[in-house]
Amino acid sequence: MFFIELIICFIATVGFGVIFSVPKRALLLGGGIGVVAYTVLSGGLYFGASPVFSTAMASLTAALIAHFLARYVRIPVTTLAIPGILPLVPGSRAYFTMLAFVDGEYLTGLEYGVETMLRAGAIAAGLVFALAVFSFGKGIGHRYETSR
């Protein structure tokens, strides 16, 4: 059953690659990264980690692989990272947030809304961590001019 989910995830991610006009040589790579991200997310949930933490780990994994492959095939990293993180997008939570607000159940809506925001933030956090790993020595000055 899980295997079928992975195949569907691969096909859907490749479909998303076509929507974003990802170049042909990166389409299947993007699909593969999406499958890995979905596997990490499902694995985290299976072993009892919280959805937010699992999303962050999956996003980190996807972004790290995207950075490696982008260097290897000489392609901008976004073309791989965007399809890679799409299976993590909290579309379901966002929809139920909207549904709760339409029904006038504001408390439920807020609950779902906070979870949506946290999951989106977790995706961003994963991207940021991967970026930090790959930009050692290239970051921008932030506090003191220590090299002076």
Binding site: G15, S21, P87, L127, V128
Partner: protein, 251 residues
């Protein structure tokens, strides 16, 4: 026309193509600075935001140059970003001279999307139905989600082509996708209405601005990052209000 004018032209053309088609701000700035430096310009500075690019440099012993381009459209065509990236890489390494680089960039600017429109709609359908399954749908939900997602994609593309209104296209597409999903379930195609509606909306997800916002904020382009984040937020809100409209009308 001197050499520096020519260099300015190809740099700004490259930057405009990249920024229009969904490159990150830092990539635009870095590419332009590298290209200008490779053409032996001095004192190169580039400033790009989500909506415009400024580039200034001086030619040794001659005048200073400073120009800007304004970027209105924001599309999602990552293929063009990749191709411009390739051209700039070859230009910096000296494989291309200024004239061939300009010709190549103009070809890229004129080229259409790498995939035909029917294939984009079809893959929107496939992606939508796939995600409706992943979000907890069932086998019978695949077909209605497929149809609704295709109609969503067609609506957003055609609405933008003829009426050219930002955010309204997403609103209409979400409304039509949601309505079609509700209608299909009403006529007995598919069971889980929530999963079908989610699937039909997935092709509208603003993936490019979302990812670029994070990237821009991280590399210190605060203005560009915040504005891209606001764009992604507004797109999501217009999708949500479109489908909320459909649900409160028909459900």
């Amino acid at each position: 026309m001197g050499k520096s004018d020519k260099v300015m032209d190809i740099c700004l053309l490259a930057g405009e193509i990249m920024l229009t088609n969904g490159a990150e701000t830092y990539r635009v700035e870095e590419t332009l600075e590298r290209m200008a430096k490779a053409a032996s310009m001095k004192n190169v500075h580039c400033f790009a935001t989500t909506t415009g690019i400024f580039l200034s440099f001086e030619e040794e012993g001659k005048d200073d140059h400073m120009q800007m381009v304004r970027v209105d459209d924001r599309l999602q065509d990552l293929n063009k970003v990749t191709e411009v990236n390739q051209v700039s890489r070859e230009f910096v390494s000296g494989e291309l001279d200024v004239e061939t680089a300009e010709a190549k960039l103009e070809d890229i600017a004129k080229a259409s999307v790498p995939y035909p429109l029917w294939l984009i709609h079809l893959s929107a359908g496939i992606a939508g139905s796939g995600f409706s399954f992943l979000f907890g749908g069932d086998w019978p939900d695949l077909l209605p989600a497929f149809i609704a997602a295709i109609l969503t994609s067609i609506t957003v593309v055609e609405f933008e082509r003829y009426l050219k209104v930002r955010f309204a296209a997403e609103f209409m597409a979400a409304f039509i996708g949601g309505s079609v999903a509700i209608a299909l379930v009403f006529f007995g195609v598919g069971d889980n209405i929530n999963q079908i509606v989610i699937g039909s909306l997935m092709p509208l997800v603003p993936g490019v601005p979302l990812t670029n916002a994070v990237r821009d904020l991280m590399s210190g382009d605060l203005v560009a990052g915040v504005s891209r984040g606001a764009e992604a937020l507004l797109t999501s809100l217009s999708i949500a209000s479109g489908v909320a409209f459909a649900i409160s009308l028909f459900l």
